[in-house]
């Protein structure tokens, strides 16, 4: 009897059975081994911070100050839409700190078990603003102009926190007598694109590809500011976004990660956030 086919099929079966792991995607996956290259091999302890893309400016500066006071640390960032980061964290992506632009996506991660509900703290607030290119090609003067037919408007996708907040603003305006009836529908009819995060909205408006966009007031600071003009939204119609931050449970830096969160909540971190257009919280 020829053992060869048996040998081959046995090897195949072994390989296949080794590969058939649990299909449960939401269970916590085992932590990966720390890399053999990178900050750890240089003696530095890396802290991985997943943060909403609207925090790119202030968190980069906060990281520099943090590293200068915690000499053995190296802060690594993953900036993206909070919805994307929440999905990745819920599926086991390794991280030490999560800073979200909306409590909703922090809750998603809390429900997945990666973050303890008691450890979540609000560290900043943000508000919405309407932006136009510096040349203001559509001649936008007030908020009602957003409904003008033919205007090209860019919003963030409604899955993104700032996109959800933009829709909330439109809903508030719809019931406000100062705005004409059908305002919300006409504005939504002007939308040409729903972007995956706020920074893309800023870039496309700053490039002049659209006539207007709705983003955070903190987005108007920094490099793009020179190419943008912002139109304020009154508090009654505005959405105050609470940004929560928390340490991830299975963090590989159980000492440094809470220090980072403490730094963000402390006077230095709050001052930097204020500098970048965020509304600091006075009490954590």
């Amino acid at each position: 009897m020829n053992p060869l086919p048996k040998f081959r099929s046995l090897a195949l079966m072994l390989l296949l059975s080794a590969c058939s792991l649990s299909p449960n995607g939401t269970a916590a996956t085992p932590r990966p081994e720390p890399p053999s290259t990178g900050p750890r091999s240089a003696g530095l302890i890396p802290i991985t911070v997943m943060a909403a893309s609207s925090l790119t400016g202030p968190f980069t500066e906060i990281a520099k100050d943090f590293e200068s006071t915690h000499w053995n640390s190296k802060v690594l960032f993953d900036f993206a839409g909070s919805q994307q980061l929440a999905q990745q964290l819920a599926n086991g992506a390794p991280a030490d700190v999560f800073a979200s632009a909306s409590p909703q996506y922090m809750d998603t991660v809390v429900m997945s078990g990666r973050i303890q509900a008691g450890g979540v703290k609000t560290f900043a607030r943000n508000r919405l603003v309407v932006i136009t290119p510096a040349s203001n090609p559509a001649g936008l003067k007030n908020l009602t102009d957003l409904a003008r037919p033919g205007l090209k408007l860019i919003l963030a996708a409604q899955e993104v926190p700032v996109g959800q907040y933009s829709l909330t603003f439109l809903e508030k305006a719809a019931v406000d007598p100062a705005f004409p009836p059908g305002f919300k529908d006409r504005v939504l009819a002007n939308v040409v694109s729903y972007e995956p995060d706020d920074k893309t909205v800023v870039t496309k408006v700053a490039l002049g590809e659209a006539d207007a966009g709705i983003v955070y007031s903190s987005d108007v600071f920094g490099a793009s500011a020179a190419n943008l003009v912002s139109l304020a939204i009154p508090d009654a119609l505005n959405v105050i976004a609470n940004y929560p931050i928390a340490v991830v449970q299975d963090s590989q830096t159980p000492g440094l990660a809470p220090d980072f969160v403490g730094f963000v909540l402390g006077p230095q971190g709050q001052a930097i956030l204020g500098k970048y257009g965020f509304v600091p919280v006075t009490s954590p």
Binding site: N2, P3, L4, F7, R8, A11, L12, L15, L16, C19, P23, G25, G81, Q83, Q84, A86, Q87, P137, K152, I154, A157, E159, V191, V192, S193, Y194, E195, P196, K204, L207, G208, E209, A210
Partner: protein, 282 residues
């Protein structure tokens, strides 16, 4: 005297059953080396199907956003293939036999979109055809704006996928024997007739596979599309964009679209392979 012709049969190949079994096992086991890559490709594709129940698939298909994405992907990628073939065939024919420095430079330039990251392609298209772009600023006073339109989707797909057609078609044309073309020319055929009656029938396999590569690349195009055309359901949200956005809130939407893409690609590939095998066997 009668010559005796002994028919000598050719030496028979070494009979496999005479080799030791272990040696045969080791010699044949090289085929196991094919398994790692094969499994690496097959397992992720198969796991897509394990994650979604048929009921979820039906629910996913009922959503308007999913149907819009499928329809948009199909129409834009088909338009891309037609456009690439129409515009790419003259270019492929120009490039296929010339050895001049200019032709080689053009050849390298046409290769660029293949190696460029798609995001770079998107930014490039925006800076050229955007409202403030090089060409775009001449068009916007005329009322023509390209970004955020379905036409922009087709442009983005064509930019990244057409070079694949050009390369494949050029290879196909180059494979047609020069003697055959000269013979046709001697018989009085002009250049167009040579192309129509000699080159095309002999190179259609390469042209078809070029079209297939172009279609596949266009269906999967994401980076250039989201930057240049934006993301708007029904107008510019192709299947890859819908999967990306859908992944972040409703995994079922992403899985439904992914499975449809896999199934559709498989059917088309199998069909084309069947057609090719059928024709080549004649």
């Amino acid at each position: 005297m009668v010559a005796v012709v002994r028919t000598v049969s050719p030496p028979s190949p070494p009979r496999l059953t005479q080799k030791p079994r272990l040696r045969r096992a080791i010699q044949g086991s090289w085929e196991l080396l094919t398994l790692p890559l094969l499994l690496f490709i097959l397992i992720p594709i198969a796991s897509l199907f394990f994650h979604l129940t048929p009921a979820d698939l039906v629910t996913g298909l009922e959503q308007a956003q999913v149907r819009q994405a499928i329809q948009l992907s199909l129409t834009t990628s088909l338009a891309t293939v037609v456009l690439s073939a129409a515009l790419g065939t003259p270019l492929a024919y120009y490039l296929h036999r010339r050895a001049s420095r200019l032709a080689r430079l053009i050849d390298t330039l046409v290769d660029l979109p293949i190696v460029l990251p798609p995001a770079v392609a998107g930014v490039a298209l925006l800076t050229a055809f955007g409202r403030q772009g090089l060409v775009g600023r001449a068009m916007s006073p005329l009322g023509v704006t390209l970004p955020f339109t379905t036409a922009a989707v087709i442009m983005a797909q064509t930019f990244v996928a057409a070079p694949l057609y050009v390369k494949s078609a050029a290879l196909g044309f180059a494979g047609v024997d020069l003697e055959l073309r000269r013979a046709a020319a001697l018989d009085g055929a002009n250049r167009w007739q040579v192309f129509q009656h000699v080159v095309v029938p002999l190179s259609w396999v390469s042209v078809l596979s070029g079209c297939l590569l172009t279609w596949a690349r266009a269906m999967g195009e994401f980076g250039a599309t989201i930057i240049f055309a934006g993301n708007f359901p029904g107008r510019t949200q192709t299947m890859p964009l819908a999967i990306y956005i859908g992944f972040e809130i409703d995994l079922r939407v992403a899985l439904t679209l992914s499975i449809i893409l896999v199934a559709f690609s498989f059917v088309v590939l199998a069909l084309v392979r069947w057609v090719l095998n059928a024709r080549l066997d004649r």
